[in-house]
C-alpha cells in the first residue's frame, strides 16, 4: 500500500470521525446534565414542593456531524432550577383552597428559590467529559 493510500484512508477515517463522534460523545453531556438534575432535585427531576409542575428531563438530538442536549419535560421545573424564582404569592381560585402542609389556605407566600444553574452546571462538566471522549476516539484513528 502506498503512502498516499495510507493518508487517503486516514482522511476517510477523519471524515467518519467528524460525522459520528459528536453523536457518540454527546452521551457524556447528557449523563452529566442528568446527574446534575438528580442532585438538584433529589433524584427524580421534579420539585418536592412542586410535584404538579411535572418532571424535568433531557432530550438528545443527533444529526450527522452534530449532536445536542436540550431541556425536556417540564419547562417550569427547568426554569426554576436554572434561573430560580423570585418570591411570589400563589392564590387559590375563587371559592377554592390550596392544599399546603399547614392545611388549606386561600393563598401562600412562596419564597424565592435560588438559581441552581442545573443545566449549565451539568453541561459544563459534560462538555469537558465529551471533549476527553472525543480526543480518545481521535487518538484511536489509524490504529
Amino acid at each position: 500500500v502506498s503512502g498516499a493510500a495510507d493518508v487517503r484512508a486516514f482522511a476517510a477515517d477523519v471524515r467518519r470521525f467528524a460525522d459520528a463522534a459528536p453523536g457518540e460523545s454527546i452521551a457524556a453531556v447528557d449523563e452529566a446534565i442528568t446527574a446534575q438534575l438528580r442532585r438538584d432535585t433529589g433524584g427524580d427531576g421534579s420539585l418536592s414542593r412542586g410535584r404538579k409542575l411535572g418532571r424535568a428531563t433531557t432530550s438528545v438530538r443527533r444529526k450527522r456531524g452534530e449532536a445536542e442536549v436540550v431541556p425536556s419535560g417540564s419547562r417550569n421545573v427547568w426554569g426554576i432550577l436554572q434561573g430560580g424564582t423570585s418570591a411570589h404569592v400563589v392564590r387559590a381560585k375563587r371559592g377554592g383552597f390550596l392544599a399546603t402542609p399547614y392545611g388549606p389556605r386561600r393563598q401562600v407566600h412562596v419564597s424565592g428559590a435560588p438559581a441552581r444553574h442545573t443545566f449549565t452546571e451539568g453541561a459544563a462538566t459534560g462538555i469537558a467529559d465529551a471533549q476527553r471522549d472525543m480526543e480518545r476516539r481521535w487518538a484511536q484513528l489509524g490504529s
Partner: protein, 801 residues
C-alpha cells in the same frame, strides 16, 4: 425564539481536517507517479565514479556486517541489523578492517548491550524493544512536527488551500514527501492534537443567559433614562426619541427570554421591520409620542394594508416598549422621585414618630381596650369598670390626651369592631342567626358545642367553602383505582376469596404482577388523597367536618365499588367483601374515625390543661386532686370538665375545645377583592408630597370599588419596616374611623421611599384578623370560638427543591 432553543449543550464537528489530508494524499500520488529523471553530464559522471567507490565501500561493509552477524549469534542476528551496526561502529571511529578483525569481541559486546535493552540509534540497530520504540517515536515526531506546522495555520488558510503554495503549502508538501517515503505513521498522525483542533466543539447557550439578562436590564434602564432626561429638561420627547434612534442607528426591541423572564431575553434589531414598513425614525417616534391609541391605529392600518406580519409585530412591540418606558419615566418625573438615602432615613424616622404620636392606640393597645370595654358597659348599664378608669388615667398620664380624646379613640375601637363584624358579610349573619335559633342562653359546654356545630353546618351548606382542589385530587384517585382495576389481566381467573388489592405482607407482594401492583399503588394514592382531605376538613371544620367527610367517602366507596368488582366477575357477596376491605384499607371504618376523634379530643384537652396548669395550681387542693386523678385515669376530657366547672363557678368563660371557625365569608370577600384588583396591578404613586399619594390611593380605592379594601404590601424591604407599614396600612385602610388618606399616604410614601429602586408597589391581599370572638361572645354569652391562628397569617413556603 423558541424558548427551549436557547438552553442547550451542543457538539459540532466541523471537518476541515480530512480535506487537508486529501490534499496531502493527492500530492503524495503525484510524487509517487512521477519519479525524478536526471540527465547524465560530466558532473554526473564524476558523481557516478564516486558512487563506484561507494559501492566498493558497501561491499566491504557487507563483509564486515557478515562477520559481525556471525559473531552476534543466530538469535540476535535475527532481529538486529548488522549492516546498521557496522554503520554505528564506523560513526564511533572504527574502520571496516578493524570491525572485521575484531568481529568476535564486538559481537560479544553487542550481545551484552542487547540484553540490557539499550535504546537510541544503536538500540534500534540491535532491534532492542527500546530501540524500536525510539524508532517509532521518531517517525511519529516527524508526523508531529509537520502537523504542528499545519495546526499553526488557521483553519481558514487550510480550508482555502488550492495548491501547495505558501507556508501551509510547504507543510503539505513536506507531509506528502514523508508519506511517499513511508515515514508517516498513521498512529502518529492521530496521536497529534493538532488536527483535532480542526474538529470544533461548540458549546452553546451556556454563558449567554446571564449576559443576555444583563443586557436586557441595561436596555430597559437606558430607555427609561433617556425618556426621563428628555422630560426633565423640557425637551420635546418625540424629537429626543427620534434623535436617539438616529444616533443608535437602529430601533431596538426587547424579546422575551426563556420562561418569560429576562433569562435569555435578548435585544434584537428591528431595523429591518421598520424598513419593510417604510417607517422613518421620525415617523416611528411621532407615533410613539401620540400614545397607545396612535400605535393601535397605525398597526391596524398596516395590517389592513397587508403589511408583513412579523415586521408589523416587531415594530408594534418596539413602539409599545418605548411607550412603556416613557410612561415609567413620566411617572417618576412627575412624582419627583429623587430620594436619597438620607431622605429615606428621614422618612422612615418620621413614619416611626408618626405611628407613636398620631396613634396612641397602637402605643397602649391594652389600656385602650380596657377603656373601650368600660365604655361598652357604660352604654349597656351606665356603669364604668374600675379597670377602664385606671387605664384611662394611665393613657392621659402617658400621652397628654384629654379624657374626651381618649373616649373618642375608644369609641372608635368599638365602632371598628362593630363595623368589622358587620363587614363579615351575610354568611356571618346567617351563622349568628343560626346560633340564635340554636339557643343563645345555653350554658353547658357540650350542648353549646352541638348547637354551634349545627349552626356551622348550616352555614357550611350555603358557603362557598369547599376543598375544590383537594376534592379534584380525590376524585382523580377514585378514577385511578378504577382504571387500574380495569388494567388487571385475566379477570376471569381472579380468585375472589383470596383476592387482596392492598396486600400488606411480603408474601403477598412477592411475585405480584405489574397490573395488580398498579392497583395497589392507586389505592395507596387514594388513601393519601382521602387522608389529606380529612386532615384539611378537620383543620378547618373540626371534628364534625372530619366525621362528615369520612362518612361521605365511606358512602362513596360503598356506592361505587361493588358494581366495579361485580363487573370484574365477583359475586355480590365477594364484591361487598372487597368493598369492605377497601373501606378498611382507606381508614374509613367508623371505628377508625372514632379513634381519631377521641385521640384529637384528648390531645386538645391535654393542651388546654397544660395551658391552665398555673391556674390549676392555684385551685383548692381537692379540685387539684380531682383533676390530677382524672388525668391519671386517662380521662383527659373529664379533667377538663372539672376545670371548666371551676372556671364557670369563678365567673370565667369555660375552655371550649377548638370546634369550628368559619373563615369562608371573610376570606371570600378578601379573595373577591383580590381577584378584582389582580388584573389591574395597581400602582401606588410615589412622592414626598402626601397630596399626590392621597390622590393615588384615592384613585386606587375608587378603582377597586371596594369600600374597605383589605390590602397589605409585599416588598423586599427590611422586615421591620415592612411589618410596621403593613400594620399601619391595614389599620388605615380597614378602619372607617381613621383618616384613610392621611395615614396611608405616609405609609406608602415611606415604603416607596425605601423601595426607591422599585417604585411600583405591588398590592396584595392580607387576610385580616377575623373579629368574631367578641361578636360571638356578645351574642351567645359563653361560647368562645377560637379562630384558628393560621387563618391570620399566610404560610410561607420556603423555597422549592
Amino acid at each position: 425564539v423558541a424558548r427551549d432553543a436557547e438552553l442547550k449543550a451542543k457538539i459540532t464537528a466541523d471537518d476541515q481536517a480530512s480535506k487537508v489530508f486529501d490534499k496531502v494524499a493527492d500530492k503524495a500520488d503525484d510524487l509517487e507517479s512521477h519519479p525524478v529523471e536526471m540527465e547524465l553530464d560530466a558532473e554526473v559522471s564524476g558523481v557516478l565514479s564516486a558512487l563506484d567507490q561507494v559501492a566498493a565501500e558497501a561491499k566491504q561493509t557487507a563483509e564486515a556486517a557478515e562477520a559481525l552477524g556471525r559473531a552476534l549469534g543466530p538469535e540476535l542476528a535475527g532481529k538486529a541489523d548488522p549492516g546498521a551496526i557496522v554503520g554505528d561502529l564506523q560513526r564511533m571511529g572504527l574502520t571496516l578492517d578493524q570491525i572485521k578483525g575484531n568481529a568476535d569481541e564486538l559481537g560479544a559486546k553487542m550481545r551484552e548491550l542487547s540484553e540490557s535493552d539499550v535504546g537510541g540509534k544503536l538500540g534500534s540497530s540491535l532491534g532492542t524493544t527500546r530501540g524500536k520504540m525510539d524508532e517509532l517515536r521518531g517517525s511519529a515526531d516527524q508526523s508531529r512536527s509537520v502537523l504542528a506546522n499545519l495546526a499553526g495555520n488557521s483553519v481558514q488558510d487550510l480550508g482555502s488551500l488550492g495548491g501547495v503554495a505558501g507556508g501551509a503549502g510547504m507543510a503539505l508538501g513536506q507531509l506528502a514527501e514523508y508519506a511517499t517515503e513511508g515515514n508517516i505513521s498513521l498512529r502518529g498522525l492521530a496521536g497529534v492534537a493538532g488536527p483535532m483542533a480542526l474538529v470544533s466543539v461548540a458549546i452553546m447557550g451556556i454563558q449567554a443567559g446571564m449576559e443576555s439578562m444583563a443586557k436586557v436590564k441595561a436596555f430597559e434602564k437606558e430607555q427609561v433614562k433617556s425618556w426621563t432626561e428628555a422630560i426633565q429638561e423640557g425637551e420635546d420627547a418625540v424629537t429626543v426619541l427620534a434623535d436617539r434612534l438616529r444616533e443608535a442607528g437602529a430601533v431596538k426591541l426587547e424579546q422575551e427570554g426563556l420562561f418569560g423572564n429576562d433569562w435569555f431575553g435578548r435585544i434584537i434589531d428591528a431595523n429591518n421591520a421598520i424598513d419593510n414598513l417604510g417607517l422613518t425614525y421620525d415617523e416611528f417616534a411621532a407615533i410613539v409620542g401620540q400614545g397607545q391609541g396612535a400605535i393601535d391605529s397605525w398597526a391596524a392600518e398596516q395590517a389592513a394594508a397587508g403589511a408583513d406580519a412579523l415586521s408589523l409585530q416587531q415594530a408594534t412591540e418596539a413602539m409599545n416598549q418605548e411607550l412603556s418606558a416613557s410612561k415609567t419615566a413620566a411617572h417618576d418625573a412627575e412624582q419627583g422621585l429623587r430620594l436619597t438615602e438620607r431622605s429615606v432615613r428621614a422618612a422612615d424616622q418620621a413614619m416611626a414618630e408618626f405611628v407613636l404620636a398620631a396613634d396612641p392606640v397602637k402605643l397602649m393597645p391594652q389600656d385602650f381596650d380596657k377603656v373601650a370595654e368600660s365604655l361598652a358597659r357604660v352604654h349597656e348599664n351606665g356603669v364604668a369598670t374600675q379597670e377602664g378608669t385606671d387605664a384611662l388615667n394611665r393613657i392621659i398620664a402617658a400621652t397628654g390626651m384629654t379624657a374626651d380624646e381618649v373616649f373618642t379613640a375608644a369609641q372608635g375601637l368599638l365602632d371598628d369592631t362593630a363595623d368589622a363584624a358587620g363587614e363579615a358579610a351575610e354568611a356571618q349573619q346567617e351563622m349568628a342567626d343560626a346560633v340564635d335559633e340554636a339557643g343563645v342562653a345555653m350554658l353547658d359546654a357540650a350542648a353549646n358545642s352541638e348547637a354551634f356545630s349545627e349552626a356551622l353546618k348550616r352555614v357550611n351548606a350555603n358557603s362557598s367553602l369547599d376543598f375544590g382542589q383537594m376534592a379534584q385530587d380525590t376524585v382523580a384517585s377514585f378514577d385511578s383505582v378504577k382504571e387500574s382495576l380495569d388494567g388487571i389481566e385475566h379477570k376471569s381467573k381472579i380468585d375472589w376469596s383470596n383476592f387482596d388489592i392492598t396486600p400488606d405482607e411480603y408474601s403477598e407482594l412477592k411475585g405480584m404482577p405489574d397490573t395488580l401492583a398498579a392497583v395497589t399503588d392507586a389505592v395507596s394514592g387514594m388513601r393519601g388523597s382521602i387522608q389529606s382531605e380529612l386532615q384539611a376538613a378537620f383543620d378547618s371544620g373540626g371534628i364534625d367536618a372530619y366525621t362528615e367527610k369520612a362518612t361521605f367517602f365511606r358512602d362513596q366507596v360503598i356506592d361505587q365499588f361493588p358494581a366495579k368488582f361485580a363487573a370484574m366477575g365477583a359475586s355480590t357477596e365477594e364484591a361487598a367483601a372487597q368493598t369492605q376491605a377497601l373501606v378498611a384499607d382507606l381508614g374509613l371504618l367508623p371505628e377508625d374515625v372514632e379513634i381519631m376523634i377521641q385521640l384529637t379530643r384528648e390531645e386538645e384537652a391535654r393542651n388546654a390543661l397544660d395551658a391552665f396548669s398555673s391556674v390549676i395550681a392555684g385551685m383548692p387542693t381537692d379540685v387539684q386532686v380531682a383533676i390530677n386523678t382524672a388525668i391519671a385515669e386517662g380521662d383527659i376530657e373529664g379533667a377538663l370538665a372539672i376545670l371548666n366547672d371551676q372556671l364557670i363557678h369563678a365567673g370565667h368563660d369555660p375552655i371550649v375545645l377548638p370546634i369550628d371557625a368559619e373563615p369562608a365569608p371573610a376570606e371570600d370577600a378578601v379573595a373577591g377583592f383580590v381577584d378584582d384588583t389582580e388584573g389591574e396591578n395597581p400602582v401606588i404613586p410615589v412622592d414626598a408630597n402626601p397630596r399626590d399619594a392621597e390622590r393615588g390611593v384615592s384613585g386606587f380605592v375608587d378603582d377597586t370599588e371596594a369600600e374597605k379594601p383589605v390590602v397589605g404590601i409585599n416588598s423586599n424591604v427590611q422586615e421591620a419596616v415592612r411589618e410596621m407599614l403593613t400594620i399601619r396600612l391595614l389599620a388605615a385602610l380597614l378602619s372607617p374611623t381613621v383618616n384613610i388618606f392621611g395615614d396611608a399616604s405616609q405609609a406608602i410614601a415611606t415604603l416607596n421611599a425605601v423601595q426607591r429602586l422599585e417604585p411600583r408597589v405591588g398590592v396584595e391581599a392580607y387576610l385580616r384578623d377575623y373579629p368574631t370572638n367578641a361578636e360571638i361572645a356578645a351574642r351567645i354569652g359563653v361560647i368562645r370560638v377560637p379562630v384558628d391562628a393560621y387563618l391570620r397569617s399566610e404560610p410561607r413556603i420556603t423555597g422549592l427543591r
